[in-house]
């Protein structure tokens, strides 16, 4: 039975990732004409919790227990199990979140199955010739649409492309057994280390407060963190701030960092050079605070406040705290 599949990625704590709930919502919208069935697939050492969570979004979920992922790099292992299921059941399309784990999985799955990949979709719509994905390319300068030549393949979905919405009725979970050996070499995880900072992840943050060179130093990021906390958001940074050692690489936004799409991007002391712009310009609302009215960010922000970022930042913090208090 052909249809749309969505991969349910298991987070470290066993829960389903937010990105997977978005991909599942998108999968449902592609199948909205009712002609195709939507199926979730969760593969891991303990898939039950994530599978139940995914069933809130799609009518049917396949849960496959693969103990190896407990202490081995998961991508290649999940790809092999998923490739076997794909060969057996022949779905038309497989949606996978376009985060680091999903990209590893999509790349390996593509190589193992020969299926093509439409990468980093910001939207997907169904057509009679198969799905058509929308992408933002060349740092947002161009919107492209692309299709799978055979109508079948893999689509990776960029975080925050859709708002996750559970289905009206919960679906069922079907336990499937792993079949066959894993031919690819498994890579053991010999140790797990906590992040260098306790900073919230920017990957799927609704609000990001970001600092650049203008922040001036690691202490300056204290104000950025306070603003992020007051707004319930995460802290982001430019490469210059990361290279200066003020904040870890995990928070970097831009060409060699992460591409984010929050509802609000508050840019503090960020000029908006192209290398940074490519990572954040699809944010719904961009507010910049900058001394320089001619900074490139003035061209694509919704609002730019010309002023000192510490003074404006502290005033904004007071205003936000007064509002919530």
């Amino acid at each position: 039975m052909a249809g749309i599949w969505v991969h349910g990625e298991i987070a470290r704590d066993g829960s389903l990732t937010k990105l997977s709930t978005e991909a599942a919502t998108l999968a449902r919208s592609i199948a909205a004409d009712g002609a195709r069935e939507v199926t979730g697939v969760v593969i891991g050492a303990e898939p039950a919790a994530a599978a139940e969570a995914l069933a809130e979004f799609v009518p049917r979920v396949l849960a496959l227990t693969e103990p190896m992922t407990a202490d081995h790099a998961a991508g290649m292992i999940v790809a092999q199990r998923l490739a076997t299921l794909v060969a057996e059941r022949q779905p038309d399309v497989i949606l996978i979140g376009a985060g680091p784990e999903g990209r590893d999985l999509a790349g390996a799955l593509s190589a193992l199955t020969g299926l093509g990949v439409l990468a980093n979709a910001t939207a997907v719509r169904a057509t009679s010739d198969g799905p058509v994905a929308t992408h933002s390319v060349f740092g947002g300068k161009l919107i492209t649409e692309s299709a799978l030549v055979s109508g079948n393949g893999i689509i990776t979905v960029r975080p925050n492309s859709v708002t996750a919405e559970p289905a009206g009725t919960a679906g069922s979970v079907e336990v499937v057994a792993a079949a066959g050996d894993l031919a690819q070499p498994a890579v053991p995880i010999v140790e797990r280390l906590p992040a260098e900072s306790k900073a919230a992840s920017i990957d799927d943050a609704r609000i990001i407060v970001a600092g650049g060179r203008g922040v001036g130093g690691p202490e300056g990021f204290g104000l950025i963190s306070d603003l992020a906390a007051a707004l319930g958001g995460a802290v982001g940074a430019t490469r210059a701030a990361v290279d200066s050692g003020w904040i870890p690489y995990s928070q970097q936004i831009g060409q060699t960092g992460k591409i984010v799409k929050p509802q609000l991007y508050l840019a503090m002391g960020i000029s908006g050079a192209i290398q940074h712009k490519v990572g954040m310009q699809t944010a719904s609302t961009i507010v910049a605070v900058n001394r320089d009215p001619d900074a490139p960010i003035a061209d694509f922000a919704d609002m730019i406040v010309i002023g000192d970022l510490v003074e404006v930042g502290q005033a904004l913090l007071a205003e936000l705290r007064a509002r919530s208090g």
Partner: protein, 263 residues
């Protein structure tokens, strides 16, 4: 130790000249090519490892049009030993599946301890080629590396992999394939001596026949995906410029956020 670094010439993201041609493929003539940013980080790491080991070589492996040596010289000027270019007219229009196949086939003609690749390229940003190459080559895959520590005596490699909540320390026997990030460290600028030396470094060109790939399996003919349409994004609305004093400016920001139901 021998390290192969997968490097891709990409249109310079800072040039602003990237555009598609009438066939929906990248118009390479319209913007200068540079070495992909993430590839430079892994190249730097490879050079440092070879320097620390005191022996070995860093081999660039590139799949690109025949103009690629110009860009490859920039990476050779940083210190890579030699280059291998897979180039064939039939490769034009290749997708990620074909790219992974070609690179895996080219790797099978080389001997190496490690293969490095950037986690993605700034033009395609798919981030799926390195895992694809690993799967096709049947080699251990260690991704999103923040550190890479080979142990030549034990013939193993240890990688600190960036995850959503910290790091996984992965360990695998060599040979292995590693995708790396900017966290590996700032790439060096080529020295004048390095630029001079790069001119005479060897770049070997391989055709599809040399690596045993059928032309029909790659390029436009073998493509599994196609660009069907493209357009400029809808322009953002006008920028509201606020020049009031901090207290008043802060109120303006809050008003905007409230209007847009962000807070």
């Amino acid at each position: 130790m021998r390290i192969v670094v997968l490097t891709k010439p990409v249109p310079d993201p800072a040039s602003g000249g990237e555009r598609l041609g009438p066939d929906g493929r990248l118009d390479r003539a319209n913007s200068p090519a540079v070495v992909n940013g993430n590839d430079e980080y892994v190249l730097e790491k490879a050079l440092k490892l070879i320097e620390a080991a005191g022996e070995g070589e860093v081999i660039l492996l590139t799949m690109a049009p025949a103009t690629a040596p110009e860009t490859m010289r920039k990476a050779l000027a940083m210190g890579a030993t030699r280059g291998v270019l897979v180039s064939d007219p039939a490769l034009a229009g290749s997708d990620t599946v074909a790219t992974a196949r070609v690179l895996a086939a080219a790797l099978s003609t080389l001997s190496f301890d490690l293969v490095f690749a950037g986690v993605d390229t700034s033009d395609g940003t798919a981030g799926v080629v390195a895992p694809g190459v690993a799967a096709l080559a049947g080699l251990p895959f260690l991704s999103y590396a923040a550190t890479i520590e080979p142990d030549a005596a034990a013939q193993t490699v240890r990688v600190r992999r960036i995850t959503a909540d910290g790091f996984e320390v992965l360990e695998a026997p060599m040979p292995a394939i590693i995708s790396g990030t900017q966290a590996l460290g700032e790439p060096r600028y080529p020295s004048l001596k390095g630029i001079m030396a790069a001119r005479s470094k060897e770049i070997t060109t391989l055709s599809l026949a040399d690596i045993g790939i059928e032309p029909s399996a790659v390029g436009v003919d073998g493509a599994t995906t196609k660009v069907t349409d493209w357009r400029a994004p809808a322009p953002r609305g006008a920028t509201e410029v606020v020049r009031e004093a901090p207290d008043e400016a802060a109120k303006r920001i809050v008003t905007l956020l409230a209007e847009r139901r962000i807070i």
